[in-house]
Every structure is written in C-alpha cells, then in structure tokens.
C-alpha cells in the first residue's frame, strides 16, 4: 500500500556540528534571521513540497461569514421572490427539511437595491457598496450545496467535508499536501473577530486523523496571540535561553547513541522552531508598523470596520510571510444567523466587512500577491426565501452563494444558478466536496492524490465524491 506522505526528518547532526554548541548558537542565528536550514535539507514535516501540477495559488485566505449570510440579499437577486412575497412556497417546489421548520412560512421579499457592477456587470446588492470596486475580480458561485442543515453540521462540513466530526479540515489537507514556506509560523492560521467561539470549537480547524502538525493554530486576541508564546511569568530572556540551552544539551547527549531515532531529532528541532516562533510571531501580526493609508484602506480608522479590517490586514502580513492557509471568521459564534431581524443584523455585519474585504483585495493586487492568493468568501450555508418570525430567514444549505477571487480564479463571472426563488441550486451544482476539490486544484493539488491512509482506508478531503469545477479558474 502506498504510505502516508510524511517526510521523515533527515539527519541534522552535521548542521549541529557546524552550529557549534547547540541551542545558544541555534537561537542566535534564529534571532538574526539567518536561514537555519540553508545548509541542510529541510527536515520539517511541513516543509514546502512540490505540488502535483502547476496551480496558480500558493496561499488561501478564507473569509468565513459564520452563521450563514443571505445569498438572496447579497449576490443572487430573485425578482420572483418579491413578486410572491407573503405567499407560501408554490406547490411546484420540493419541500426541503429546514432547521426551524419554516418550510411553509410566507416568502420574504428582499429589500435590497440591486445593480450590476464592473465591466462584467456582476450583480451585487447595496448592502456591499464597496464591492463594486472588485466586481471584476469576483467569481461568484451561486449554486453551492451542503448537507448540514444546522450550524454544527454545516460549519463542520464546510471545513472538513463531513457533517460528522473528526475529519481533517481543508487547511490541514492543504498543509499536508503542500507544506509551509515559513518555518517559524504555523502553516494554517485561524483568526476570529471576537472572543466568542466558532461553532464546534477548535476541532473546526483540527487535523482529524492526520498528524497534529497540520492543524490550524488559532491566533488569540490580546497580547499572547499564540498560546504559550511568551516566557513563563517572571522568566527573563537570558534565563529562558540558558534553560533551553541546558535542555538541548540533555537532548543532544541522549541522542548521541540513538541517532537512528528521527523522532528524537524532530523534537530537538521542534524546540528550535518554538523558539523562533516566539521571536517572530508577534512581529508578524503587529500592525503598528503599517502606514496610515494602508490602515485606512482596510478600514482601521472606522469603528465599524476596524475589527475585521485588522484581521484582513493581518492576513496580508501572514501571506507575505508564507503562511499557507488563513481563515478569518467573521461573526464567530454564528452571528450571521438571522432567524429574525435580518435587516438590522445583516446591515451591520455587511458594514463590518465591506471595506476590509475590498481593501484586502486591492492591497493584495497592488502588491502583486493576488495571483498567488486565493480568497474564498462564504458561510456554512445561505438563507431561505421563506421568512422566519416575520423578518428573518431560516438556514438554506440546498442552494447558496460563495465567491472566489485571486489565485487564478476567473473574475467577473457568475457560475451556476439557483431556482427562481433561490431555494435549490439547479445549474452547475457545486457540493462542498466539489468546492474543496476545486480549491485543491487551484492550489496545484490533485484532490484524488492527496491521500492519507487511515485505519486501512485511503482518505481524501472530498470523501471520494468531489470533482473539480474548472470554469472557476479556466477559460471555457
């Protein structure tokens, strides 16, 4: 059977010999930014690997609108919905199972003003006024489908392919397939907009049954963005360095007569990595050094936009430093979930993200990073044309919108369609498995080849069901 693609670390003894006395020297060279691994082969299990084919994207930024934004009020206008508002779903429509049982509630009109934008004439509602500037960059997929009717299953599937917990998330698969380009930062980083937890907790970006090195690392708010990043309380750098030096000495002596054990070596290395992370991570996310006009571009000067703006700006800094996969949760804890008062809720949330997202895309573009960076926007599902509690909408996983930009996505186009009321996807349906497979392809990975053997079965991101939808990134 084929083996899992985990690279065994190569020997680094020669390197240590050159470095001299173990940790002190290693740490010093880390601090001076010298590439520690220059002289030797990269023994890191997530060191960059060669993609299966030439794909354009190197990084992903996933703008996750948690809770389910309404496609019917943002990217998928339905004139018939407003005509039939107040009536029940016509008999001709199949009745889906909905989360709150609102199948027979009256249809709710969309109050949005719609216009076509950019040269491509992409439809975007007035809830996202700034998005007109990036209309020609967006590839809007109106025919997404998922199986999760609830947030737990929906967020789980959108991340891992299954409504059932325990599988690796897309970011983990991509880290596994491609490795990282930065040895001092995690390959997969997650940032959220508040202290509220994303549905299902940390397993949402977990690595399931593949090694933990590929799991997402949550950047926390506040002074310690990565858990345990700072010296223990009251411990000076000197003391820490001496302690780690002694630890390294213990490990070196132990390793001396056991050099065939690559795990021991990997652990020696992981302490070095930890030390470098401690030195470099705070700088990577410190936005203070950014010039004012850039901060403004992301909306850091406005209260409504500064939180997501900071996340977006941080994402750009991480992309610049080679972080492979970044997930930016907006509305952590299902804030987009609008079972009632959607008008209020969505107005506010859209204002929060409109400027930052547009700023991010414009900034990536002006830096020449947009071609390398795939931006994904969407929630775990959309919302129903049927109303709930008079002024809200229920969950709709059977037809909803996501968009992609950059990373080779063909901008200014609309893919697929929902029915006349936006309830079911009817044309070019893209199930979550297909979305994952397509993202993998855009990253240069063949989703059928990125396989991990688990309990005797060859496991893939798409549960063996996805297909790549090429029109997203190829001329047709």
């Amino acid at each position: 059977m084929s083996c899992n693609r985990i690279e065994q670390p190569h020997s680094r003894r020669e390197f240590l010999g050159k470095a001299g006395v173990g940790f002190g020297a290693v740490a010093l060279s880390a601090l001076t930014g010298e590439n520690l691994l220059g002289a030797t082969k990269a023994p890191n299990p997530v060191a960059a690997k060669i993609p299966h084919q030439l794909g354009k994207a190197k990084n992903v930024i996933w703008l996750f609108m948690e809770g389910g934004p309404s496609h019917l009020d943002l990217f998928d206008p339905k004139p018939l919905l407003n005509k039939l508002a107040g009536q029940s779903l016509p008999e001709s429509f199949e009745r889906p199972v909905t989360a709150m049982g609102e199948v027979n509630s009256p249809l709710l009109a969309s109050k949005r003003e719609w216009a076509q934008h950019g040269e491509s004439g992409l439809w975007i509602s007035d809830w996202l006024p700034q998005h007109s500037k990036i209309a020609d960059d967006l590839c809007v997929i109106r025919s997404c489908q998922s199986d999760g009717i609830n947030h737990a299953g929906g967020v789980c599937q959108m991340n891992t392919g299954s409504v059932f917990g325990g599988r690796p998330s897309l970011g983990s698969w991509i880290s596994y397939g491609l490795g990282t380009e930065n040895q001092s930062l995690p390959a997969f980083v997650v940032i959220k907009d508040s202290n509220a937890m994303v549905v299902n907790g940390a397993r949402t970006w977990g690595s399931g049954f593949i090694p933990a090195v590929h799991q997402g690392v949550l950047l926390e708010n506040g002074a310690e963005p990565i858990k345990n990043l700072h010296n223990p309380g009251g411990v000076s750098d000197k003391r820490q360095e001496q302690k780690l030096g002694f630890l390294q000495q213990l490990n070196e002596n132990h390793f001396d007569s056991r050099t065939s054990n690559t795990e021991l070596e990997a652990r020696i290395r992981s302490y070095e990595l930890a030390f470098r992370m401690q030195a470099e991570a705070p700088e990577a996310i410190d936005l203070e050094s950014e010039p004012e006009h850039i901060k403004k571009l992301y909306g850091l000067d406005q209260k409504e936009t500064q939180i997501y703006g900071r996340q977006c700006l941080m994402a750009r800094r991480l992309v610049e430093r080679g972080v492979r996969f970044i997930q930016l949760y907006h509305g952590a804890g299902s804030k987009w979930d609008s079972h009632s008062k959607m008008e209020e809720n969505h107005s506010r949330l859209c204002r929060n993200v409109d400027v930052p997202i547009v700023g991010l895309i414009q900034d990536l573009k002006q830096r020449g990073l947009l071609d390398d960076t795939l931006i994904i926007w969407g929630g775990e599902f959309g919302r129903t044309p049927m109303s709930e509690k008079g002024d809200g909408r229920d969950h709709n996983p059977t037809g909803f919108t996501m968009w992609m930009a950059g990373g080779g996505a063909k901008g200014g186009q609309t893919i697929g369609a929902t029915d006349e009321l936006g309830l079911f996807a009817v044309e070019d349906k893209l199930h979550v498995h297909d979305i994952h497979s397509t993202v993998m392809a855009m990253m240069g990975l063949d989703h059928t080849e990125v396989v991990y053997m688990h309990k005797g079965r060859p496991e893939r991101i798409d549960l063996n069901e996805g297909r790549v939808h090429e029109p997203v990134f190829k001329d047709t």
Partner: protein, 1084 residues
C-alpha cells in the same frame, strides 16, 4: 503488489524498426514483449491494472482492452483510428487524454499505433480472470487469511539459549529466516521502566527501581515474572489497559456538536471498563455485556452499564432532520461495532460492495439490522432490582405526600408545557410530526425511534422553561407558584435521592424495526445475518421480554470461539500495546486494505492459548512479558542489514523505541513532581486536578490542552492506535505553558525539601525521580554548572519585560476611543497591562472622601480573568474582608455574579458597627473590548428613610454604539459607615492593593468627586462638579502619566516560599528541562 521484472519496466527510447516487427508471430511477440508490454506497464497499469481500474478499464490484457470500460471498447485490433486507446494517447479530445497528466512521447504513440495495426498481438491467450460464485466472490476471496479458522499451530522447534518461552520460538524463526538476530537483553533499569509504563502507564518509583535491580541481579527471569504479577494485581493496571479500550470505543463525555453538552453519567462506563480489566473479566463476557447486557442482565447495573458502548457516539440536540439523524446514529453504531470487535472496516460497504474485501453491501445492512431497534433511554435509573424497588416506593410516598401541591402546580404549568411541545414539534418535517402525534402503541419501532428523537428536544425545551418568569406577570399566579413550590420544598427531605441515570442502550420495542437496503433503486428488506463469505446459517433469534433479542444473537456470534475475527483482533490488540505495533499493524482493519500479519502462526497460536485460558488477558500479558522477545533492549542502533530487510522492525530485532503517549506523559510529570493522587473511579475531574489522566474530563470539542497536544484521540471514531506527533506548539506548551511550569516548580520544591542549596545529591535524586536511573558523574557536573549559572541569571526576579519594546504606558487616544466627542478626552489613554511594568498606577497625596463619593471612568477592557478575580479599575483596599476599603471593577469569567458585571466591593460597618464585606452588583454588563463610560455614586452612610442601608447608583454607557442609552441602577447595601481606609493601604488604578485582580485594558478618563453627584452632574451629561481627581492622561511621559502618580514597581515582596528565589528558580528550571527532555518523554 504484482510487479513486472524491472528489466521490462524501462522506458522505450530506442528508435523503432517497423519492418522487423511486422513479420512473423515470433517477431510480433518479441515486439510486444520488448516495446509494448513495458510501455503499458509503465504508463497505464497504475490506473488500469489489477489494483485500480479507473473508468472500469484494465489494460493488462488484450481482452480487457477490447471489452473496454465504462465508455465502451478501448481497442479494436487492426483499426487504429477507431481505437479509443489511440485517440486518447494522441490527445485528440482534451477531455479524454491519457495518461491524464503526462503526454506520451511521439515514439511511444507510434509504437502503440503500430501494435494495434498489427492486430494487437498478446501472447497469453486467456486472461487470468478469476471465477466468481453467485455472491461475486472468487476463490481468492475465500482464502482471505482473517476469515480462516484458527490454524492448528505447533510451536516451532529451535535450539539455543535465547528463547524463554514459546513466543520466542516463533519470533526467532522469523528472524533467522531473514538472517536477522535479536538484540541483547535490556538492562534492569530499562526493563523496569518498560514494565511499569506498559502495565500501569506510570514510571516506577526509585524504590521500585532499586528493588527490581536487586532482584534482577540475582535472577532476571524471576524478577520480571514477579514484578509483572505484582503490577497485574494492582488496580493501576485497569486504569492503563482500560484506556486502550476506551480509545477503541471512541469514549468521550460530551455530545460533540455545537453545544457539546457534557454527559455527566458517562464516567460509569469508564469505571466499568477499568474494573473489567482489573477483574480480568473474560473477554467474551465483556463483549456480550457491551452489546446486549440489557437483554440478559437488565437488573444487574454492573453489567448493564456496558451497553453504554452503543451510545458513546455523538449526538446533535437540535437536529430537526430526524430521519437523517437516526440514520447517522445507526451507521456510527454499526461501524464502531465492526471496527472494535471484528477488526473490519465495514464502513466502505455501506455504499457499495466492499471494493477490496469480500464484504457485501447486503452484509453491512444485515449486520446493522442487529442494532436497528436500539434506543438510548433517558429515564432508566441505574440500580439493582432492590434499589430500584426501594426508590420506587419512596418516590411513591413522596408523590403522595406532595400530591395536593404537585397536582395544582402541574395544572398551572400544563398550558405552557403544551404550547412548548407544539412549538418544538412543528419544527420537524411534516411526516415526522405525524409520527410524533400518533399513539405510542400505533408506532412501529422505527417510528418510535423518530418520535423519541423529537421527544428529547421536547424534554429539553421543557427543562429550559423559567417558571418564575412565566408567572411573573400574573401576581396571583406568581404568589401561588411561590407558595406551592415552598410547600413542596418543605417535603424535600422525604424525597429519595435520585438513582444515577443509566447511560445505557436497549431496544425501543420488542418487535424489530426493518432494515432496508437500496440496490439499483430497489428497496429490499434485510434480515439479521452474518458475513456471506463465512457461509454460516442465519442466527436463531429469540425475543427477550422488552427487546428483540437480536443483539444477544450478534454478541454470541462475536463472542464465539469460532469467530475468526473477534478472537484474533483482541489478541492482536494485546500484542500491539506491548510492542507498539500489532502482529497485524492495522488493528481495526484485518481486511486487504490493512496489512498482513508479520507472524500469522504466532497470532493463531496465541489466540488459541487465549481461548483455552478462558478468554482472559492477564495470562497473555504474562506470556508476552516473560518472553525474550519482550526483553530485548531498545538501545541498539539498526545495522545496514536491518535497515534494508526490516526497517519497520516488524520482526522485532529490537524492542521498539517509542514516545510515551498523552496519558503517560501527563501522569509521569505528576509522579515526578510528587503530586499524583490516586483514586478508585468516580466522576471525571478537571485537567488541573492531580489525578490520573484517565479520570480527566473528555469533551469532544475542547480537548484538554496537555492530553490533546500529545495526540489523545478526539473521540469521534474508534482509534485503534495512537499517533505520535512532534510540533512546535507542543514544545511551546512544554517550555512556556503554565501547567508544565507548575509541575517543574513542585518537582523543585520536592527536591529542595529542607535543603539550602542545590547540590550533587539533589541532582542525583532528580535523575532518579525523572529518569529512573543514577546520574553519571559528568551529568552531575553539568547539572551543577547549570544550576549555578542559572541561579545567577535568576538573581532577584527581573521586573516583568514589556510586552512590546518601547512601550511607555500611554497609547494614542484614537486606538480605542476614537470618535468619542463627549465627554472630552485627552491625547492619550493609559494602557494597563497586567504582567508588564505598567500594571498598577499608584496615586498619592490626595484627600480621599470616605462617606460619599462618585467615581467616573471611561475605559475599555481587553480581557477578563479566567477565574473569579475581579477586574479592578480602581481600588483603595487590600482585599481583606476585615479591613475597610472599596474597589471599583467588573467581574470575571467564573464569578458567581456572572462575567462582566459592573460592581463595587465595600468593606465597612453596618448600622450596628460590625465590619462587613459586601459585593454591590449592578447587574449592568460592561461591554467587553469596547469603550464605555461607567460611574458609581457611592453612599456609605445611613439613608434618611432607612438607617440600615446605604446605596450605590451605577451608570453605564457603551460608547461604541451611538444609539446606546445611559443605563442606571440603584442598589442598596448595608455598609453605612467606617469606610475610612488605613494609611498604609495604597490607592491604585488598575488594581487594588493586593496581587492579582488587575485590569487589562485602556483608561481614557478617570475622576473622583466628593459627594454624590446627581445624574445631570455626571461627566457624560456635561455636568460640572469640583473633582478631587480628574485624569485625562495628556502627559508626555508614560512613566508619570499624571502628577502625583507613579507606576508601582516595588521589588516583589519576599515570597512565602522558604527558598531563596535564585535557588528555587534555578532548581525549577533544572527540573523543567528534565521534564521536557527526550529521555523523559521517550522509552528509548
């Protein structure tokens, strides 16, 4: 894998002589063998061969090619242009180009064209196509090793001294067949650590190491055998080996979906497992209890709890798609049963006949049908028949006694309950609603299961009703409600203590649900049956009183001696945990996707031994652990021969080195630090408790940080083996994490005990405790050198480092408070950062009002304490509830006043001049991470109309929200005097005069006014008043942000520790390094 000889695999590069090839048959065959077969093998077989046949096509025989695949024939001999194969390699159609990613060279294409043109000769006339029977099985399928009955194996004979028991004869034969030799025996020190970690998951104590070494030097065999017996007899054994089983059955204690509700009764199953191991319960009995105890021992709680196995899976409390939900639950139950007991990854067969194993889709559903009538009752008490009877009796008495009140109460509640039920039910699909409203007797078993899924949600909603609130609006009802509940409460003593709820599984009805399986659009009912391949008759099922009896039949089949899977699977698991790799390295998959056994005869021999010994595990442990195979050293480097012949050490030419697993690491740290507290079962504990890891709460969505980091499985599916990862975040946790530092600190104190310095004896003791061995002289020397230099580095503890270099304690006002026009703010805000140099600001030389005063502030809070500390923005108090003082702040996460509650703490005198402490809580929530105005108008003197009471008037406004209103709340308290604070207590901003309770966030304006301001006098209303303090932090220097203030940077008070800081610090660091080191974390 079948491979062609390598000489045939080379790429074709030579130019082609067409003339020669087109000639005779012999020439044609030569051409085929030298050019075509290698080409097809190299370029096509990977996807179109015996292993894979993409698109239904194989290219390894001409018959397959002419027959074609899903899209029709691939080759027409003699017709180049009509052959799809040629079109594909020519890449004529972009959607159908082969090979997909790699274009063949022109020469290769020409060769293929030529070959087709000559009629596609192929020497083997007939394809070796395997004959299949009516089930689609080939002869090879019937030869599947794992499905064979146990072979009658005789122990191989082997001469020589090495072997200690039969196990060794098997392993020695394999080694010698491969010309490998076993490693030297391990030393006493290596051996004792291995045995203890293996059987108990704990390191041996230094005394245990010494006594073993003494015994070992006299008679190693006896020493090992005795120590193994001692450890097997201890209940620590079940705690270790029970954990292995808990992994296999995906044990966890929470729901695993969004809410991830904790399941408080699950731990009884954990204890059941531990006890079963400790008692060496026969495994066949263990199987039966977990699958069907409710059918044969419904009144024996000690057995019944075993059926929790079937309900350990995840559950989503608010899923309205009841049919899908039940399907998921049943599928999960089926898969875990197949994996845990049978070692079969049958999940694949759910959707199609298993591609690699002779398991039919029909088999999958037949197996599922044994389980398809199950249900997870919510209301079964767990107790013996007597206990239940007694409980029932007492309960009846209590009900009788409370009846007059209870009945009236229930009548009052009825309307709301009914509307609540309706509200929940109507969220389900219409067909499920119909089922729910049916009479129970009219529901089929399947319908009952769906109805019960609805019922769970109905019950949950009912529990959530706040009755007090319900009746609040109706004064009459509200009074009556209070009276009735009070009456019932009076009789509380008579109410029997609830029996624990049984977290068990049983059948929903005695008449089975029907299992359907869909094949080609047809729905076929499936009856319980065993794997078709085994050709066994259908089971005889006799319904029990309340159940179908199906699971008993299943359990009996699994627990039967003749079951080839279950018997080998469990013995393989035993071997696996002793040697870190099973004889079959894929313990949950004995199928063809798994790996084959390295020692098939040994596996069968051991299994026979296991069965003959009454399915008991302890004899097998003894057999394995007393073998010479087990006694080899791990400390031996592989030779080049071993690297090539057996790099994975499957033949065991040494004992496998390995990292300790999550529980072993956490437990070993607690042992080294001297903190571990043993217990015998019970409810699960927090990860910070000093108990063994098997007792730590296991929530699916929130891993324990230590255990999770070291790869404890997440509990979503059966985890037959642990992976061992190495990540930088793990290392950060070890070197910086609070938990690890605390263990190092405790370890240091244990070592120091009454010592005044860290000497050689301390170092040696540390090595014994951490590594279970003596320190070598050079290690002692190096350790002492480190301790000395580290003591210098520790010195007097350095002031906390600034989090960001260059920080001054002030931040531009716009960072947090931008856009706030009223009240007026200065240019900067004060950044209070706990743990930094800017932690507490002392204010001096101000006259403090003591009876009535008003504090106003504009601030934000970045984070609140995780414990119950108060986030104090200002305080004049040392935290004692006997000494006068006050503090102004908001509550933290674990506060019993709920987090972010804006409060005043007062210590003063009540009207009788007793000193009292009172928390005056506003119940106004401070908006986290948002700027807010908040004020407290404090009156600590008797009110005019009530001399026993004083008051605090609270005001709060969220300044980030332009629409927010000023909230106001008046709260009365009993402090009416004596608020005169002692002189030695400091007035602080960002804290009170006591460690901890810091504010983490920014402060833009801070005022104190004597007297009680009226609402219009407040800053927020533009009011004027003579303020005693009015800080707006416009100063240039963050070191002294306002006149008469200074950051409090006292030298830390001499700690209560009896050790000088340098000594304790250096020893802690020394211990910390030992506990983080590879020698501690690995058995190598």
């Amino acid at each position: 894998m079948t491979r062609l000889p390598s000489c045939l695999l080379g790429l074709v590069t030579a130019s082609i002589g067409f003339g020669e090839a087109a000639g005779s048959d012999v020439e044609q065959i030569q051409f085929f063998e030298s050019k075509i077969r290698p080409l097809l093998a190299a370029e096509c077989y990977d996807c179109h061969g015996p292993e894979k046949s993409k698109g239904g096509l194989r290219a390894d025989h001409i018959d397959f090619l002419t027959e074609g695949g899903d899209t029709g024939t691939a080759l027409i001999p003699g017709d180049v242009n009509a052959s799809a194969l040629i079109s594909a390699v020519r890449r004529e159609n972009p959607d159908f180009s082969m090979p997909p990613k790699k274009e063949l060279s022109k020469e290769q294409v020409t060769l293929l064209e030529k070959w087709v043109e000559m009629g596609a000769p192929w020497p083997e006339e007939r394809v070796e196509r395997e004959e299949t029977d009516e089930h689609g099985f080939t002869a090879k399928d019937y030869e599947w090793w794992a499905a064979q009955p146990l072979a009658k194996v005789s122990v191989p004979k082997r001469n020589g001294e090495w072997a200690k028991n039969e196990v060794d004869h098997f392993t020695a034969r394999k080694l010698s067949e491969e010309k490998l030799s076993p490693a030297e025996p391990a030393s006493a020190q290596e051996m004792v650590r291995r045995i203890h970690f293996d059987l108990h998951g704990l390191p041996p104590t230094p005394q245990e190491v010494d006594s073993f070494a003494t015994a070992f030097s006299k008679n190693p065999d006896k020493a090992i055998s005795e120590r193994v017996n001692i450890l097997l007899a201890s209940s620590r054994y079940g705690e270790r080996w029970g954990q292995h089983w808990l992994d296999v059955v995906r044990y966890a204690e929470s729901d695993g979906y969004r809410a991830d509700d904790y399941r408080p009764d699950t731990w009884r199953y954990r204890d059941y497992v531990i006890e079963s191991f400790n008692d060496d319960k026969p495994y066949n009995q263990f199987i039966r209890e977990q699958i069907a105890a409710d059918e044969f021992a419904p009144d024996d709680p000690d057995k019944l709890i075993g059926t929790a196995f079937l309900r350990l899976g995840i559950y989503e409390w608010n899923q309205r798609n009841a049919r899908m939900q039940w399907d998921l639950i049943l599928t999960e139950m089926t898969n875990v049963t197949g994996e845990a007991f049978l070692g079969l990854g049958i999940g694949c067969a759910q959707c199609h006949d298993h591609k690699f194993d002779p398991i039919l889709q029909k088999d999958y559903f037949a197996l599922q049908s044994f389980l398809n009538t199950t249900w997870w009752p919510e209301d079964h008490p767990l107790g013996s028949a007597d206990e239940k009877a007694k409980y029932g009796q007492q309960m009846a008495q209590w009900k009788k006694a409370t009846a007059p009140f209870l009945e009236e109460l229930e009548a009052m509640q009825q309307p709301k309950i009914e509307s609540s039920i309706k509200g929940i039910v109507k969220q389900f699909p219409a067909d499920v609603q119909k089922i729910y409203w049916k009479e129970e007797s009219q529901r089929s078993a399947y319908e009952e299961q769906l109805a019960q899924l609805v019922q769970r949600q109905v019950d949950k909603a009912r529990q959530k009703i706040d009755w007090k609130k319900q009746f609040e609006k109706d004064k009459e009802k509200s009074t009556r409600y209070a009276e009735l509940t009070a009456e019932i409460a009076k009789l509380a003593e008579k109410k029997p203590k609830d029996l624990p709820l049984a977290f068990i599984t049983t059948d929903v009805k005695p008449k089975a649900a029907t299992t359907f399986f869909e094949t080609r659009g047809e729905k076929v009912a499936v009856e319980p049956a065993f794997l078709t391949l085994l050709g066994q008759p259908a089971p005889n099922i006799s319904p029990a009183k309340n159940t179908t009896g199906r699971r008993t039949a299943l359990a009996n089949w699994i627990a039967d001696e003749s079951n080839p899977f279950s018997t080998r699977v469990v013995v393989n698991r035993l071997w696996q945990h002793h040697f870190k790799q099973g004889i079959v390295p894929t313990p949950n998959d004995f199928g063809r996707l798994g790996e084959e056994p390295s020692h098939p005869e040994l596996l069968d021999w051991l299994t026979r031994k296991f069965l003959d010994g009454g399915w008991k595990m302890k004899p097998i442990h003894r057999l394995i652990m007393n073998s010479a195979t087990y006694r080899q050293t791990a400390q031996r480097e592989p030779t080049s021969v071993e690297r090539i012949t057996d790099p994975k050490n499957r033949l065991l030419w040494r004992y496998p080195p390995h990292r300790l697993d999550a529980e072993q690491i956490r437990d070993a740290m607690l042992v080294a630090s001297g903190e571990l507290k043993h217990r015998e079962g019970g409810a699960s504990v927090d990860g910070n408790a000093p108990n063994r890891s098997v007792y730590v709460k296991k929530r699916r969505n929130t891993k324990d940080p230590i255990l999770g980091s070291f790869d404890k499985p997440n509990g979503f599916s059966s985890a037959p083996n642990r992976i061992s990862t190495t990540t930088p975040t793990q290392s950060l946790m070890l070197v910086n994490g609070e938990w690890a530092v605390a263990r190092a600190n405790a370890f240091a104190k244990r070592l120091l005990s009454s010592k005044k310095k860290a000497d050689a004896e301390l170092v040696r003791s540390a090595y014994r405790l951490a590594y279970g061995r003596e320190a070598r002289p050079e290690e002692v020397e190096a350790s002492l050198a480190f301790l000395t230099s580290q003591a210098n580095a520790v010195g007097a503890p350095a002031p906390p480092e600034p989090k960001y270099p260059g920080e001054t304690g002030l931040r531009p006002i716009g960072q947090v408070f931008k856009g706030i026009k009223e009240p007026e703010l200065g240019e900067n805000s004060l950044w209070l950062q706990p743990g930094s140099r800017f932690e507490r600001l002392e204010v001096s030389e101000v006259e403090w009002p003591t009876k009535e005063f008003t504090i106003e502030a504009i601030a934000n809070i970045d984070s609140i304490h995780k414990n119950a500390s108060v986030n104090t923005l200002a305080g004049h108090w040392n935290g004692s509830n006997k000494e006068s003082g006050w503090a102004f702040g908001v509550t933290s996460e674990k506060s019993r006043y709920q987090p972010l509650n804006f409060i005043m703490q007062l210590v003063g005198e009540d009207f009788q001049h007793n000193v009292i402490y009172e928390v005056v809580a506003s119940d106004l929530r401070f908006p986290k991470q948002k700027p807010a105005y908040f004020a407290a108008v404090v009156s600590a003197k008797p009110k005019k109309d009530d001399p026993t009471k004083g008051s605090v008037t609270f005001y709060l406004k969220d300044l980030s929200d332009p629409k927010a209103k000023l909230q106001k709340k008046i709260v009365h308290h009993q402090v009416v005097g004596g608020l005169r604070v002692k002189e030695n207590i400091r007035y602080l901003i960002g804290a009170r005069d006591q460690p901890g309770h810091y504010w983490d966030g920014q402060l833009a304006r801070f005022t104190v006014t004597e007297g009680t301001l009226t609402e219009s006098q407040l800053l927020i209303n533009g009011g004027e008043a003579p303020r005693v303090i009015d800080f707006d932090f416009s100063s240039e220097s963050g070191e002294e942000p306002e006149p008469k203030t200074a950051w409090l940077r006292e030298a830390p008070k001499s700690s209560t520790s009896p050790y000088p800081p340098a000594l304790l610090g250096a020893t802690t660091d020394f211990c910390h390094a030992l506990l983080s080191s590879n020698e501690f974390l690995y058995l190598h």
